[in-house]
């Protein structure tokens, strides 16, 4: 254990911890036991801070908002610093040995890069957000219980409503599914980990911090987002949603989208390029397949909302005019639903994958028509999901022919779903059903999905939708699919994989109780909504007497539904620690995650022969298999140096590198976005933004430092099955996937530019606003830097290290001059009193150029890294992949400019 024996000032201690250096070399220095007075002092300070923050949060609004925020932020920051310090360095209240274990435990979960640990973190965090979202739902249902109720004000109701939707979809459903994906997918395809373990940790921490940021908005001036989860424009403008709260909320959403983008790239590369021996695409299990489908949709859908959120935040922070220009509402609608419809499948598909995994195991049959399911999903659902978004816009000014097209495509997309459901049912018909809890939840999900799907088809018909649009019928529809199909499917996954993740069995009686009570309460809650087909959704109260009874029943159902989840939590909490030890493959499934040898085998541990291929009937929990020791996946693992060491079984350990960088980067970004949201409302905005950027910058520098000094090792993949990309490395696949989503991001933004332009009555002619000469010069400079980057690669291919450095330096110089010229033009415009708010033309110009310039900036930083590494002899004739990857990225940024330049300077 490294230790700095408590004599170093604590800010140095915290800094050293974050920067990840060893202050004291003695590995075994004893932990100093604290004097009681120090402990008392600590608690005194903490108590004062807590009281102070409560008082401050309660100050009446007459006192200066800035002052209040300043003090409460200082309180929050200091409390966290103190907590971190004591968690890591002071064995307060604890005996030395215990303190060491707490410390090791904390480091494991904060710094882990192991896919199983991160999967666990995702699941636990997602459940926390489910609690937050669920509480908001109960508040809303309480308000709607009786007519003319005033339990919540209209504003609070709107905030609860909007944040409930956002939190449940983005911080609960998707992350829960990705918890399972993180844990199970690498095991199913026999990969040692995800392709980029640190990026995986970064995704997790961005998700966790963004969720916390979203929850904080309730306590900021302006409050939380209150315009519905769809964020329709113009409700999101500063006019209707003033204050920093909503801006921070949008930033939180944006960070979550960033997290999803990073993990999509990570997963797609893992699933394509890291499949272990024998896992050809025909052998990939159903759950992994459905995660592949989900990821493909994510890669294409999320950049659109990322672009939309960039523009929205720019509108609020930098006064651009995207969504306040004429037609802004329709622009938002299109961008949001282009993303939004695929998103509803994104939350559905992991659950379908789990169901497709569970059905065959509990019927002792292979899944019926596996190929048909896969083909229907991949060739119809995935592409069509991008062509149906207009069914959310039937009541807008969309041209009639376009509405009709969307109606037809929507009905078309229900067909492949019929194939899937029929295949599921046929599997049941032919099999011998074993009703254990995972199976119950899977069956429940299918039944409920059928109801939800049918109501969806009603809504897809334009005449019916005109009637139902904006009513509780729609609310009923999407809760049947989202809660019924998605959440129940994931509950099934929970019970199914619980023994794999904890080495213990859950309590079957409690679990079955959980199923039946949930199923009943679910229907009591949501079925009345189909009856309320004339009640508008999103209203905070009503006076129509006929609506009273269904609403009352629904509220009772909601209380029940929330209440019975306690059974689930108790079962989990108890079974993790006290459940009966499980055997290795309690369900006798055939997929690789149950073989365990993907992780045990090559660590020299005992390898059990795979025992399940003969599909014996009659599944006992533990009676059939002689193997007993509990596999301690959730066992506390030691952190030794920069590795976590987990004892999986006696004599079998698993080691994994840790990294402090992901959590620090994500924390920095979250602090920075908090600051950006406050800019313009509070003098602390800028310092916070700068502080966040600084933290993030230092951590990024540290990441590069780690790489230069070989301080982080990724588990060597076996890299056996890579079809159809046999000749493409995982780094290159990664950068290309990132480029694909970036293409969509820029397409969304450039299209929005064109849209704004075509909706604006008069647009300045070329040459009047932007000097063409300057544009031409900077374009020629940028376009010349691509060949320079290419020459750098050519040099190192021949082993010419000097040439590499020279050409990289030339590229760096050209790129810097380019960005310099862009900012020079900005300064000219600012000097003549023009800014993003001046006109639609300037608003699109500043935004788009700014986004591109920041892409260039990223490239410049990467080049500095490459030059440093090259000068240390880090690249050789054989080993220079980073140079190649950089060249691809850099040329991509140039290629984008080839569209931007004419758009703003020439046409």
């Amino acid at each position: 254990m490294r230790k700095w024996n408590g004599r170093i000032p604590f800010y140095v201690g915290v800094g050293a911890e974050i920067w990840d250096i060893d202050l004291a070399e003695e590995e075994t220095a004893p932990v100093v036991d604290e004097k009681p007075s120090t402990q008392a002092g600590f608690f005194a300070i903490l108590a004062v801070l807590v009281v102070a923050s409560v008082v401050l949060a309660d100050l009446d609004s007459s006192s200066s908002v800035g002052f209040k925020l300043a003090l409460s932020e200082i309180v929050i920051v200091w409390t966290s610093l103190l907590l971190i310090y004591f968690l890591f360095n002071r064995p307060f209240l604890l005996k030395a040995e215990r303190a060491r274990r707490v410390q090791s435990w904390a480091k494991r979960w904060l710094y882990t890069t192991n896919h199983k640990d991160i999967g666990t973190l995702y699941i636990v965090t997602a459940l926390f957000f489910a609690l937050v979202g669920g509480t908001l739902a109960e508040l809303m249902r309480t308000q709607l219980e009786t007519p003319n109720n005033n339990f919540l004000s209209a504003l609070s109701y709107n905030q609860a409503l909007s944040m409930h939707g956002l939190i449940m979809i983005f911080w609960f459903l998707s992350p829960l599914a990705f918890g399972f994906a993180n844990y199970i997918v690498p095991l199913q395809i026999k990969a040692k980990d995800l392709a980029f373990p640190r990026l995986n940790a970064l995704s997790y921490w961005l998700f966790a911090f963004s969720g916390l940021l979203a929850v904080t908005t309730f306590f900021l001036p302006g409050g939380a987002i209150d315009g519905g989860w769809t964020l329709y424009s113009p409700l999101t403008s500063t006019q209707f949603m003033p204050g920093p709260g909503p801006t921070v909320g949008f930033s939180a959403f944006m960070l979550m989208v960033g997290s999803v983008t990073i993990s999509s790239v990570n997963f797609i590369v893992t699933m394509i390029a890291l499949r272990g021996p024998g896992i050809t695409f025909t052998k990939v299990p159903m759950f992994t397949w459905f995660i592949i489908f989900t990821i493909v949709q994510m890669l294409f859908a999320f950049p659109a909302i990322l672009g939309a959120l960039f523009m929205l935040i720019a509108d609020r922070v930098a006064s651009t005019l995207f969504f306040s220009a004429a037609g802004g509402a329709m622009l938002w609608d299109n961008l949001f639903w282009f993303f939004g419809h695929p998103e509803v499948y994104i939350v559905l598909m992991p659950s379908f994958g789990a169901i497709a995994e569970i059905l065959p195991v509990f019927t002792r049959r292979r899944i019926f028509a596996k190929t048909a399911i896969l083909i229907a999903t991949f060739s119809l659902v995935v592409p069509l999901s991008f062509l149906v978004w207009g069914h959310h816009m039937f009541m807008t000014t969309l041209p009639d022919t376009e509405k009709l097209t969307f109606m037809i495509s929507t009905i078309g997309i229900s067909l492949p779903f019929d194939i899937i459901v029929v295949a599921f049912l046929m599997t049941l018909v032919r099999g011998r059903i074993l009703l254990r809890t995972p199976m119950l939840f899977a069956l429940g999900a299918i039944v409920v999905f059928i109801i939800g799907g049918i109501t969806g088809v009603f809504l897809a018909s334009i005449p019916l939708d005109v009637l139902f649009r904006g009513t509780y019928f729609v609310v009923g529809h999407f809760h049947y699919v989202m809660v019924g199909a998605s959440v129940f499917g994931l509950f099934a996954a929970f019970y199914y994989w619980f023994p794999r993740m904890t080495g213990r069995m859950y309590n079957e009686v409690l679990a079955k109780t959980h199923f039946w009570t949930s199923m009943i309460a679910f229907n009591i809650t949501y079925f009345p909504m189909f009856i309320l087909l004339d009640m508008p959704r999103r209203i905070f109260t009503y006076s129509v007497p006929a609506w009273a009874l269904p609403n009352f029943i629904s509220t009772i159902g909601a209380y029940l539904f929330g209440g019975v989840q306690v059974i689930f939590v108790i079962n989990l909490a108890y079974s993790i620690y006290r459940g009966a030890p499980s055997v290795r493959n309690p369900w006798k499934a055939e997929t690789a995650e149950w073989e365990w040898d993907s992780e045990l085998g090559d660590l020299g541990g005992p390898v059990q022969p795979s025992m399940s291929s003969s599909l014996p009937l009659g599944m006992g929990m533990s009676s059939l298999v002689p193997f007993t020791p509990t596999v301690k996946n959730l066992a506390p693992s030691e952190v030794v140096g920069r590795q976590t060491v987990t004892e999986l079984e006696p004599n079998t350990i698993e080691m994994h590198h840790t990294s402090t960088r992901p959590i620090t980067i994500a924390g920095g970004i979250a602090v920075g976005m908090f600051g950006v949201g406050l800019i313009g409302y509070d003098y602390l905005g800028l310092p916070f933004a700068v502080l966040g950027a600084a933290i993030c910058g230092v951590a990024l520098f540290g990441w590069a430092w780690d790489d230069l000094h070989g301080r982080f090792h990724i588990p060597e993949p076996l890299e056996v099955e890579k079809w159809p990309f046999t000749k493409i490395s995982k780094m290159k696949l990664g950068v290309w996937s990132l480029i694909f989503s970036d293409i969509i991001l820029f397409a969304a933004i450039l299209t929005s530019d064109v849209y704004v332009r075509l909706s604006t009555a008069s647009w300045p002619a070329p040459g009047t606003l932007h000097p063409i000469g300057l544009g031409l010069v900077s374009t020629l400079i940028l376009l010349s830097s691509s060949p320079a980057a290419f020459m750098a690669l050519n040099s190192i291919r021949k082993g010419d290290k000097r040439g590499l450095i020279t050409w990289l330096a030339i590229t760096l110089a050209l790129g810097t001059i380019f960005d310099g010229l862009e900012f020079y033009e900005w300064s000219l415009l600012f000097a003549s009193g023009m800014g993003p708010a001046t006109s639609n033309a300037l608003s699109t110009y500043f935004f788009t150029i700014g986004l591109h310039a920041s892409h260039v900036l990223v490239g410049l930083l990467a080049m500095v890294y490459l030059i440093v590494k090259a000068s240390k002899g880090g690249f050789t004739k054989e080993n220079h992949e980073a140079v190649e990857i950089f060249g691809i990225y850099w040329s991509f940024v140039d290629a984008i400019w080839v569209f931007i330049f004419p758009l703003f300077f020439l046409v």
Binding site: F740, A747, T751, Y755, G767, L783, S784, S786
Partner: protein, 88 residues
């Protein structure tokens, strides 16, 4: 790749850009749509060459090319959808 290929591609994009600006300067006063079309086509050809040579697509496994073109189709839908909503 022949030794001069990158130089030729570089020359093409440079000349292409100069031609774009000339189209704006000299053709646009006479015919806006002709100038815009030429500018657009030149841009597309430049991007194609950059993709093929400087992003090495020409030398990669074919499957990567297919995946690179896939987003273009989906973007097509997005662009069409958004721009159609203005017409109304």
């Amino acid at each position: 790749m022949a030794r001069f290929t990158p130089v030729l591609v570089w020359l093409y994009v440079i000349i292409g850009t100069v031609l774009q600006v000339s189209a704006e300067e000299y053709l646009r006063p006479h015919s806006v749509s002709a100038a815009d079309a030429i500018i657009f086509l030149l841009g597309v050809s430049e991007v194609t060459l950059i993709g093929a040579y400087f992003m090495h697509l020409k030398y990669e496994q074919r499957s990567l090319l297919i995946v690179a073109l896939l987003p273009i189709v989906i973007i097509g839908a997005l662009i069409a959808g958004i721009l159609v909503s203005i017409v109304s």
